[in-house]
Subunit: 336 residues, 2 copies
Amino acid sequence: MSEVRRDIVTDTWVIVDTENDALPQVPLPRPEAAEDCPFDEGKENRTPNEIYAIRDGTKPNTPGWKVRVIPNIKPILRIEGELEKTGVGVYDMVTGTGANEVIVETPEHILNFFDLSDEQIGHVLRTYRERIVDLHKDKRMRYILIFKNHGRLAGASTIIHTHSDLIALPATPVRIKQKLNGAREYYGYKERCLFCDIIQQEIEMADRLVFQSDKFVVVTPYASRFPFEILILPKRHSFSYKEIEHEEIVDLAQALKKILQLMYFVLGDVPYNLILNDSPNLIPRTGYWQTIQQDYHWHIEITPRIYRTTGFELGTGFYINRFSPERAASALRSSL
Amino acid sequence: MSEVRRDIVTDTWVIVDTENDALPQVPLPRPEAAEDCPFDEGKENRTPNEIYAIRDGTKPNTPGWKVRVIPNIKPILRIEGELEKTGVGVYDMVTGTGANEVIVETPEHILNFFDLSDEQIGHVLRTYRERIVDLHKDKRMRYILIFKNHGRLAGASTIIHTHSDLIALPATPVRIKQKLNGAREYYGYKERCLFCDIIQQEIEMADRLVFQSDKFVVVTPYASRFPFEILILPKRHSFSYKEIEHEEIVDLAQALKKILQLMYFVLGDVPYNLILNDSPNLIPRTGYWQTIQQDYHWHIEITPRIYRTTGFELGTGFYINRFSPERAASALRSSL
């Protein structure tokens, strides 16, 4: 069981596992041997029953799938139960309701996302959309976060078979709220989408543009927190990944493969996180419902994790980035 | 040279080194041999000239000191120059004005803060106060952050001789702003200091209290972001570390040594950050000046860094903590 606790001082929230009493160990992930991987085709009985899969008529939990979604075996949030708010003296908490899924990206034992075919990456991107659409039906699920942890230093688990994580949350995360507020404020005085303006400016200025495809731009953001941080924006204004169309998925699959390959050429097998920044689950006539469709614009962040954050980042919420995004974009372009 | 760039979306800031063009390397800090440490007594000529020192009449930059403060040889912010705000299309930035100092905590080659004597830790704590008082005279310095990085996984540098870092910033950090706002709001409806109420509640509830001394309480915070996160609060209401008194320094030195030893007993040589959460440099009749003295309350955070943060923390600003603060406090108490 877990609790989502509000930090009364910063108005941020922490999910606390209140049952675990195994002392934390400094983790030394040991990659499983290929023959022992529970995510490989034929090992379906070693995982919980699937929630969703792309299959050509084969039966659930048997071989014959392209992408497979399963519950996380160590979920931090559970889907059962009502959202309950409780006060604990000056503090308050809500029960840890949510969902915690794993998206297995290929039946083959492949370790790098960019080693998947364009078509296979397309299947993964379609699965993201399907899971968001499905989970949004449950109005307790306020935000669906989909992300990838690649490499130990990016917090990856011991299972190295390429996969994504999905966590459905009972509250909109602070980072997303900050973005929604920034986008709304900008729209308020310019009457234009902030992200659409960023796309136009980055194409014109060109110094942080890594490349553009027919439907996406790939840039190093102006205020990059990490060396070689990447931002991928759809050119078409769209508030939610749920709206992504077939041609955009085909195009995005190619762009993702290309930028991850470029990073590999320049930096080697760098640890990174990939994060889909979608809209929250809109509830009509509440909060952001009225404006979000015009002022928010979904996007993907890729954050290489080369350095550990220090007391500076923890104490301030600021980041120190010792390699400018202009130089990073230039280094990536030179490998094109 | 560096720039402090505003992320227009989240209203957070990033310090970008725009001159460095050495590609980032995954760091493998190698502890220096004891005979080669530039922070040892007698090696004063291997560091920049000192800014401040506790000495018994000896000359600057010679042996015979107790604590020594020197400029960081790789500063990310420089003290020269006016604060200048510039627009870059939709973006904006300020020049990277500030200060970046290192507080060498002992003339001896000692690696662990808790191996210093109570008296020596007292000298360090007095030095913190002196540097804050001095840097606050420069009104461009809006916030003085003092912190320690212990161990590789906490972002420590290759110099393992025990030391603290000081960064003077041209803007109040977002995390401190969040805390100031939380404290002000609480005061607004309760007319009491939030932190004073937390102290009273933690002493009464006792399940997150590790120990209390005459003048301080040491607790695991309710919404701990990390396993074994520690919060140290002065019992006397005080908005700024600048106000710390002699008896409080003596008491705090003992409490710090004790909690770091307890952590060592329970967890081994765990990497951690220690962060002094002080008030900003108050400018009369601006911003927080009117209320901060009644509603803010300085404190120290210690954050063990056992796990890497993942795409979840980066994407949300939320934390997942798999070891509850109640269990952590209990484990620490059992080693008392």
